[in-house]
Symmetry: C2
Subunit: 324 residues, 2 copies
């Protein structure tokens, strides 16, 4: 970390093959907080099993990480030289069709939930479906319940209409934790200008993804191009509503990308069968502080860089999560 | 409530057909806290469903009850004229064979768990089995885990050997929340002098049951006989380790007694097919303060009565439950 490195570094999404080595890298990279995905297609019981595994990780690595429950935990982590891990779900499968499970999972530590993951869910439509019919009846209930509890609504992987309707329906700011401006990389997995504007108007936050398939030049994307993308995003979001959600999937076997894509809902191969190589400048948490160079290279000020690399997420989490 | 009524009234076990009417009776009876059974033979997922129902009850009746998480909640309930409900399990089925579920259930509000309910469980042996082989391998782990978390071990319904071994193994005081001295009513469901002495030596607590099948004269047992039973129990436990766990099953349909007895583990009728009538002097929470008369009639002092009707439970809960 250099004198130019912002103080509070936060990554708004990772799904690594968690290990002590990765938590050590989080510390070496100076991450104050990371939003970690707990699961994709797992139902309630399997998700609870993952949460049990997380408790074991927190105990076994208590010198490095702690369970983030509210915004104050970020400061608590920082002053004790640890990383606060905020847990989230990339799919609403864990709540089944039972609204009460939102509160149960909140109490067990879940702080983010996506309404959809690629496909139609019980709550809304993912970006891969042919037609997006928007937020469902149960989706409206889930949004209200998440608002009541202070669980953050994440619209990554949502279809356009579902995203816009959810932004409008939510009484609290929402996030798109890991996605990029669509006009710079044409995947519909990325977000349109319309969605970004709606997100910004409701004080939401966009986390920029470093997953190669979300980047204009894939694995070859340069750090300066990341800066240019951030600059384009900041034109709409402002640096104060912009962060990073790197989508880092470090050390995962390729079976995991198939699990993400195919779950148990298909027997067909569905998209990539292996993880693409990361850009050379972002392969682990060690590289997180270095993102500042990409931002500085396109003219971000120190204050703006500080916001994009964690300040905006920090403020969002402090404002959004109820005191534990 | 009369001037003689002790200040903090606590019932150490009820399994009513919960309703606003019953919560109103708790208030009218002046109960500061009640340990409420959440389930018997339900697995994890069904138990979570019950916990969701409890959350709804707490919201719908927030003027009358609150979820008890630690000892301070009793005082919080008292000063706001409400009853703190401490949730418990009469069987370890909800943790399946997964030790991690103890912590998950603790976080969702469970504060008591019996190691067994009548039959052999994965943790130990219930009183109805022909042979009690004691605390199992997983039982030792569960005891240590409950100790670590501060979940109270309840040995009601345990076999003699399992009870004695669990008392010895536990690093913290345990309870028998609802049972009576066996020599006054010969059911093995009640507790032997040996178990009571072991319980007392480890600073544990016995809650006296008012369930007719646990009483010497069943439904005809008099209030004075209750006092005599308390007096006999106090000779071993001392009033400071003696409470009430009424086992009140108010408003339950008879199908529930069959569920308790038969669960899903048998197709045979197993014991009573209907609830026996309650003694006339204890049919609802309204009657709780009147138990003091039974105690006074056999010579309990005001201070001792205060302990047996809630003071001992109060101190036990304050000492046992970690600050939430």
């Amino acid at each position: 970390m250099t004198a130019d490195t912002p103080q509070v570094l936060i990554d708004g999404l990772q799904y690594c093959n968690w290990s002590r080595a990765i938590f050590e890298q989080m510390r070496q990279g100076g991450l104050a907080a990371v939003h970690a995905t707990v699961g994709y297609h797992e139902g309630f019981r399997e998700t609870v099993r993952h949460l049990v595994d997380w408790r074991t990780r927190f105990r076994d690595n208590e010198d490095l990480i702690l369970l983030g429950r509210d915004g104050a935990d970020i400061e608590r982590a920082r002053v004790t030289n640890r990383t606060a891990i905020f847990l989230g779900l990339q799919n609403p499968m864990p709540i089944e069709d039972d609204l009460g499970l939102v509160e149960m999972l909140f109490d067990l530590g879940i702080r983010f939930m996506q309404l959809t993951y690629n496909n139609q869910s019980l709550l809304g439509c993912g970006w891969m479906e042919k037609e997006d019919s928007g937020v469902t009846r149960m989706g409206r209930e889930a949004i209200a319940e998440m608002n009541r509890l202070g669980m953050i609504i994440d619209l990554s992987h949502a279809g356009e209409r579902t995203a816009l309707e959810a932004i409008a329906l939510s009484q609290k700011p929402v996030v798109i934790s890991h996605a990029n401006p669509r006009w710079l990389c044409g995947s519909n997995r990325n977000v349109s200008r319309t969605v970004m504007q709606a997100l910004r108007e409701k004080q939401g936050l966009l986390g920029l993804s470093l997953y190669p398939l979300h980047l204009a030049n894939g694995s070859q994307t340069t750090l300066r191009q990341f800066g240019e993308m951030a600059s384009a995003a900041a034109e709409i979001m402002g640096a104060e509503h912009l962060g990073v959600g790197s989508d880092l999937c470090q050390d995962q076997p390729d079976s995991v990308v198939r699990w993400m894509r195919e779950g148990r809902w298909t027997r067909q191969a569905n998209g990539a069968a292996s993880f693409p190589p990361q850009p050379s400048w972002f392969v682990s948490n060690l590289d997180f502080p270095g993102l500042s160079e990409g931002l500085f290279s396109v003219g971000f000020s120190k204050a703006e860089t500080s916001l994009v690399l964690g300040g905006a997420w920090h403020r969002f989490l402090v404002d959004s999560l109820p005191s534990a």
